[in-house]
């Protein structure tokens, strides 16, 4: 074991970790931007609900490698392919949690909003989505951790970030980069999850005060 490889490549590792973070963050963000309207549509139009949940579920069952290969003709060996593929995977969790979050809003609260003279959009933005936030955030946390681990798979199309370390180590029969990649991925997932807990805490002050 030549552990000195790690300090020798510290700068490179830091850059790769950042790249990894960026890919995962963009994918989850894009997923959320798609999932929120899809979830809202599914709740508003019950006929759509089955289709939306079904399709996001089916997409999730496509093996990840196969999905990237399927995307190649469209976007090539690019960063976009990596982000697009990962975004598709986040949908299953994010859409489902958006739907469940919105469904968990107590009916009498929705009714009160209507009776106060709130229109549909105002009710959605200022009452329903805030109240659905804890459930949506739970989905965002799962999707984030999952995506951080999945980024490595995009290594096969050259955009695996920390995942490139696995390929590199494997090809050279050299374990240190592999170990470094695993540890950094785990740490990143942990830190991201903690950060999201903090975000949720800040966004939902009403859930944390006792009597």
């Amino acid at each position: 074991m030549r552990w000195s490889w790690i300090p020798d490549h510290a700068g490179e590792l830091a850059m790769t970790t950042l790249e990894h973070t960026a890919i995962a963050a963009v994918a989850v963000l894009c997923g959320l931007l798609l999932a929120l309207p899809l979830g809202v549509l599914a709740v508003r139009f019950p006929l759509l609900k089955g289709a939306v949940l079904g399709i996001s579920g089916v997409l999730f069952t496509i093996p990840s490698l196969a999905l990237f290969i399927l995307l190649l003709p469209l976007t090539g060996l690019s960063y976009e392919t990596a982000v697009l593929g990962l975004t598709v995977y986040t949908l299953v969790v994010l859409v489902r949690n958006t739907v469940e979050g919105l469904a968990s809003v107590p009916p009498h609260v929705r009714e009160a909003a209507r009776a106060m003279g709130y229109g549909g959009t105002r009710t959605l933005l200022t009452v329903e989505l805030p109240l659905a936030l804890p459930v949506i955030m739970a989905g965002v946390r799962v999707a984030t951790v999952m995506t951080i681990s999945l980024v490595s798979v995009a290594g096969f199309i050259g955009h695996g970030a920390l995942g490139q370390l696995f390929i590199d180590g494997f090809q050279r029969d050299f374990a240190v980069p592999v170990i470094a990649g695993v540890v950094l991925t785990l740490l990143l997932a942990l830190v991201a999850d903690l950060a999201l807990v903090g975000v949720q805490h800040a966004l939902t002050p009403w859930t944390r005060r006792g009597r």
Partner: protein, 367 residues
């Protein structure tokens, strides 16, 4: 004034919730819609602010057909209180109360002042404004619900079983406060309940609905209790109609008679000389404690050590029903009368109260 003209409501599943309803709800009064579940009372209420639109007929508020008004605009001018309070769980009490004023675009200071004023009006401490609804008791939440409905000072207030989910003690308290508020505010209140006692207590007028959406009788509580329109109404009013009737009139016209009182600081020996039977024990500031028999006093000491048969004081505004209850619970058949500060002014006998009850009955029972 709110009026219904030949209003029908049929739901998509074919059930008729309201049938050919004609009703005029008087301005500035509290009208109670009462009936068993499925009788259309809530549907009727919700047609006023267009939470439900009538299938046919016209609902008018202040002479205007509600369907000619934008639903959201209409609702901002009609207060609405529902059973589980319907407060927004993610907003503080103050923000909940501020809901409609903010929709109406009031400036910050005006909203803030109004919230403080309303917390006072509904009897909540000002520092509760910063709490979230789940940090409050059921009764407090319901008060916030009322404050929120009153926020923009709407002339009409709709209340859908607002006190249905709180315990009986709190419910009585909230009912009393609603009556006190209404004394000051004179809103046109439409109140839905399935509890006939609540209806009799609160209503200036009561509308009784029967399953299938029929309005069976619409009259004052006294008229209703004295002359139920049919067997359905009579059944709904229950078996103690005569007694309920007595809850509608007060002790004010019943004469106050003198009574022998002894204070808690009186020595026992002196008390024995005060009378030869039952005496009324009062505190040093003349509030009633209860009835004592001179033969059953402690051996010595002062009367503070004695254990009287507890008697509560009744003001002139207490109902005859409460007064009769007091005489029945008293060993001497007397109701203790107090002034508005709670000090004993005398007693009223079972007999005098009955005489007054008979006169009242004669007044309302004559068609």
């Amino acid at each position: 004034m709110i009026s219904f003209e030949a209003v029908n409501k049929k739901f998509a599943d074919g059930t008729t919730a309201v049938r050919e309803l004609d009703m005029e709800i008087p301005e500035g009064q509290l009208t109670v819609l009462v009936g068993s579940s499925g009788c259309g009372k809530t549907t009727t209420l919700r047609m006023i602010n267009r939470m439900i639109d009538a299938t046919s007929g016209q609902v008018r508020v202040d002479g205007r057909d509600v369907r000619d008004v934008n639903a959201s605009t209409l609702r901002r001018n009609i207060g609405y209180v529902i059973q589980q309070s319907g407060l927004f769980p993610h907003r503080t009490v103050a923000d909940n109360i501020a809901t409609v004023p903010r929709l109406l675009g009031w400036d910050r200071k005006r909203v803030r002042d109004r919230v403080v004023e309303l917390l006072d009006t509904v009897g909540l401490a000002r520092d509760l404004g910063g709490k979230y609804p789940h940090q409050l008791s059921g009764g407090q939440q319901q008060r916030v619900g009322v404050a929120r409905a009153l926020a923009a000072d709407p002339p009409v207030l709709l209340m859908d079983e607002p006190f249905g989910a709180v315990d009986p003690v709190v419910r009585t308290l909230l009912q009393d406060e609603l009556l006190r508020l209404q004394d000051e505010l004179h809103k046109t209140i439409v109140f839905v309940t399935h509890d006939i006692d609540e209806a009799v207590k609160l209503g200036d007028r009561i509308a009784i609905f029967k399953t299938g959406g029929h309005l069976v009788q619409f009259s004052t509580p006294a008229e209703l209790l004295a002359h139920p329109a049919d067997d359905f109404v009579a059944d709904f009013l229950g078996s103690e109609r005569g007694l309920k009737l007595l809850s509608l009139t007060s002790l004010a016209d019943v004469p106050v008679e003198p009574v022998t009182t002894v204070t808690v600081s009186t020595p026992v020996a002196e008390a024995r000389r005060a009378g030869d039977g039952w005496v009324l024990l009062v505190t040093d500031d003349h509030r009633p404690r209860g009835w004592l028999h001179v033969d059953h006093l402690p051996a010595d000491g002062v009367l503070a050590d004695a254990e009287p048969i507890v008697a509560a004081g009744l003001t002139a505004s207490a109902s005859l029903l409460t007064a009769l209850d007091a005489t029945v619970s008293s060993p001497v058949g007397l109701a203790v009368r107090v002034d508005d500060d709670g000090r004993v002014v005398g007693v009223s006998s079972h007999q005098r109260i009955n005489e007054r009850a008979a006169r009242f009955r004669a007044q309302v029972l004559v068609p």
